[in-house]
């Protein structure tokens, strides 16, 4: 369980992230979890026959990695209001992906302590393939 973070203690501009290895086993487990069995995600020959350099990471998995980052950051007493991602590029498997978030706005609205964030997924060379935004509610001390 992650340590509780409080709205009072965070500042605009703060960043947090996690690094996730994307090996073929991870993609097969995701296929079972999501029901997305399209072979470009786990069958090397199928991927190459479709002119891809390698098997590629599922877009939805990247979106849910962002959800996990926010879920672990907000703690038990926070809540995710929403998050979105756009799929702007493919991520080949067998590389680490960095899942990141940056606080863009801290405000109070309708008796809630809210935080807006930019979020995304980046390849090892820094290429951003999955930009998005999120809003999270945090407890106050």
């Amino acid at each position: 369980m992650s340590e509780q973070i409080y709205w009072d203690d965070i500042e605009e501009g703060q960043e947090f992230s996690l690094i996730e290895p994307m090996d073929s086993q991870r993609l097969v487990i995701w296929a079972a979890a999501s029901g997305d069995f399209y072979q470009i995600h786990y069958d090397d020959n199928y991927a190459k026959d479709n002119k891809l350099p390698d098997i590629i990471v599922h877009g939805a998995l990247k979106g849910m990695l962002v959800g996990r980052l926010l879920d672990e950051w907000k703690g038990e007493d926070g809540s995710i209001k929403n998050w979105d991602v756009s799929y702007r590029g493919m991520d080949p498997a067998r590389e680490d992906l960095t899942v990141w978030a940056k606080i863009t706005k801290k405000y109070q609205e309708n008796d809630e302590n809210l935080v807006d964030l930019d979020v995304g997924v980046a390849q090892p060379d820094g290429t951003q393939t999955t930009p998005g935004t999120a809003t999270v509610s945090l407890p106050q001390r």
């Binding site: 487990i29 979890a33 939805a60 979106g63 990695l65 959800g67 672990e72 809540s79 995710i80």
Partner: protein, 157 residues
């Protein structure tokens, strides 16, 4: 390549707001554990119901974004209906938005209803594209609570 359209067809315009699919999703405890493992969670509350109950949950909680799996029927086709004739053959998933509303638990059964919320023509590096936005509303059958909404964008070109 499909012939360029000057405007949305009447069939496309009429499709906005129309229900395109209705399906039952089962949120199983094993489904939650598999999802949590695939996304990389190490918090045991997503794997062990006793741990979850000890910190105040009423069952095995579903991580944000996991809304179960539709019941698979090998004898039925897709639950998705083609509402309009799409002249573009290639499809891309443009993006996803998740709005969690209520905590979902293992054992919940959800009804997922999807509607087209907008259709628009655009031009990009792939040529003319049809951008379709959908919203799916997930309602828990046991108490009729809306537990989540998801929105997706599909690009045809």
């Amino acid at each position: 390549m499909a012939e360029e359209l000057d405007d949305l067809t009447d069939e496309m315009k009429a499709a906005v707001g129309v229900e395109t699919s209705r399906a039952i999703y089962e949120v199983t405890t094993q489904g939650i554990r598999t999802f949590a493992r695939s996304v990389g969670y190490t918090d045991t509350k997503y794997y062990d119901e006793k741990t979850a109950r000890n910190i105040g949950y009423s069952g095995l909680p579903s991580p944000p974004g996991f809304l179960g799996m539709p019941i698979y029927d090998p004898n039925s086709g897709s639950s998705r209906r083609e509402i309009f004739t799409n002249p573009f053959n290639r499809r891309l998933n443009g993006g996803t938005e998740v709005e969690p509303i209520e905590q979902v638990y293992g054992g919940d059964v959800l009804e997922a209803v999807t509607r087209i919320t907008s259709l628009e023509l655009a031009k990009g590096r792939l040529g003319q594209m049809l951008i379709q936005s959908n919203e799916t509303i997930y309602t828990r059958q046991s108490d009729n609570a809306i537990v989540a909404k998801t929105r997706g964008t599909g690009i045809s070109y």
